[in-house]
């Protein structure tokens, strides 16, 4: 019956509107997190650059000693893969992007005869691999919205152990990098052995020519490697958090727009249904009155 249809539509509009309220709230919350998380990336930058500079200085200062820690090994039997995603969903392509890149990387490693051991940061990646029945070495979660350096240190510590003992020959990272508000992208990066950044000589810091090392490059690199690992993981966590909030804000804004459209369309359909039922009733009344009159 027409009235019933109207009631169903009214209920759907109500549910769409309340969903819209939720997505709108999530959009605003995510938007409020963006400036804070990008400010942390900016604050972290001098430190990260500094660590990079020291790696470069050490690599240039004593290439022979550096070769042991910096060169990519010819044969990698076991690689550790750290995948960084968020703890929560409803964030557009953020989680899936990293997970897909992670899967591609693992497939590639496997085809080259390397066994990949997975480490997950963020509940979403853990859930993804659990669902697929893929073994995960360790899961770190509960901090991806607002990571602290302590979190990065814990992850680095757990990853460094198998590397330093020789069980694994390579540590790879899959994470979403935050380039700007409009550009984020998933990147795969080698954490250990250390990678010497392309910017070999920084123009402002005059670390060219003779540099003294205290202690020797050998020893320095041994203590530098875990610190550089922490630094890179921390910056990836920070950028991941910023990318997560940006992606969630965008996804929720789109969801809110969709809810608006849906609610508008449903309202139109409902109004038409109501009008139809009114017209019908009038027709029935008129028809009944006609019948009564003619039957008199």
């Amino acid at each position: 019956m027409a009235g019933g249809q109207e009631r169903v539509l009214r209920r759907r509009i109500k549910s769409v509107n309340s969903t819209r309220k939720i997505t709108k709230a999530m959009e605003l919350i995510a938007a409020s997190q963006i400036p804070r998380s990008t400010a942390r990336i900016v604050a972290n930058r001098p430190y990260r650059r500094g660590v990079e500079r020291i790696v470069v200085a050490a690599a240039l200062g004593d290439p022979v000693a550096a070769a042991k820690l910096i060169a990519t090994p010819e044969r990698v039997d076991v690689a550790l893969v750290l995948v960084i995603t968020g703890d929560r969903g409803l964030s557009g392509p953020y989680n899936n992007g990293a997970l897909r890149a992670g899967e591609r990387l693992v497939n590639e490693l496997t085809s080259r005869g390397t066994r990949a051991r997975l480490y997950c940061a963020g509940r979403k990646s853990a859930a993804f691999y659990r669902f697929r029945g893929v073994a995960v070495e360790e899961v770190f979660s509960g901090f991806t919205d607002r990571p602290t350096f302590e979190d990065a240190r814990t992850i680095a510590y757990r990853l460094a152990a198998p590397y330093l003992s020789g069980e694994a020959q390579q540590i790879l990272l899959v994470s979403t990098r935050y380039h700007s508000a409009g550009a984020q992208g998933v990147e795969v990066q080698q954490l250990l052995p250390l990678v010497v950044p392309d910017v070999a000589v920084d123009a402002t810091a005059g670390l060219h020519g003779y540099v003294e090392f205290e202690p020797d490059v050998d020893e320095l690199l041994a203590s530098l490697a875990p610190r550089a690992l922490e630094s890179e993981i921390f910056s990836a966590l920070l950028e991941g958090a910023a990318a997560f909030h940006t992606s969630q804000q965008r996804a929720m804004a789109a969801a809110t727009d969709n809810a608006d459209d849906l609610s508008q369309n449903l309202t139109r359909v409902m109004n038409r249904a109501r009008q139809d039922s009114i017209t019908n009733e009038i027709m029935e009344i008129v028809g009944g009155a006609e019948a009564l009159r003619s039957g008199k």
């Binding site: 942390r40 430190y47 660590v51 350096f149 402002t204 670390l207 003294e212 090392f213 202690p215 610190r227």
Partner: protein, 145 residues
């Protein structure tokens, strides 16, 4: 004019930056002092109290291991000393009661995880070391590194 600019950087952001007449710290090789015109050097830092002789008086920091880099700055005659510490704080910012509580908490954690796989124990031991350095820095306020 020869000058020295000291910068103390942590992952959470720059902690301190300014001109100074000297920087005193400790690497695995030993204690050292950086003055203006110091030769370009890269090295590590052990957990210790770092002292900066700033124009407004000495400033001390609890630096929980890290690295340092001394290089000529962008200006003529300028020397730039950068300290990169994963954790560092101004001595004046240290909360003694909190550090004491943290020390006790980590010590309990150490005792508890003695038989574990080692990772938890090592992290707790690091925590104790950090708390001890904070206490040492705060109680010997102003003392030489």
């Amino acid at each position: 004019m020869a000058s020295l600019v000291v910068e103390i950087l942590t992952p959470e952001g720059p902690l301190w930056r300014g001109e100074a007449s000297a920087l005193m710290a400790r690497s695995t090789v030993g204690k050292f002092t950086v003055l203006a015109q110091h030769t370009a050097t890269v090295g590590d830092l052990v957990a210790s109290v770092v002292r900066v002789e700033a124009p407004e008086g000495p400033v001390t920091f609890a630096v929980h291991s890290g690295f340092f880099e001394v290089a000529p700055g962008p200006e003529v005659g300028e020397t730039r000393a950068t300290i990169l510490a994963s954790v560092a704080e101004l001595t004046s910012d240290i909360d003694v009661a909190r550090a004491q509580a943290a020390k006790e908490r980590y010590e309990a954690e150490m005792a508890e995880s003695r038989d574990d796989d080692g990772a938890r124990y090592a992290l707790a031991a690091q925590g104790v070391a950090r708390a001890e350095l904070r206490l040492a820095a705060a109680t010997r306020r102003g003392a030489l590194a």
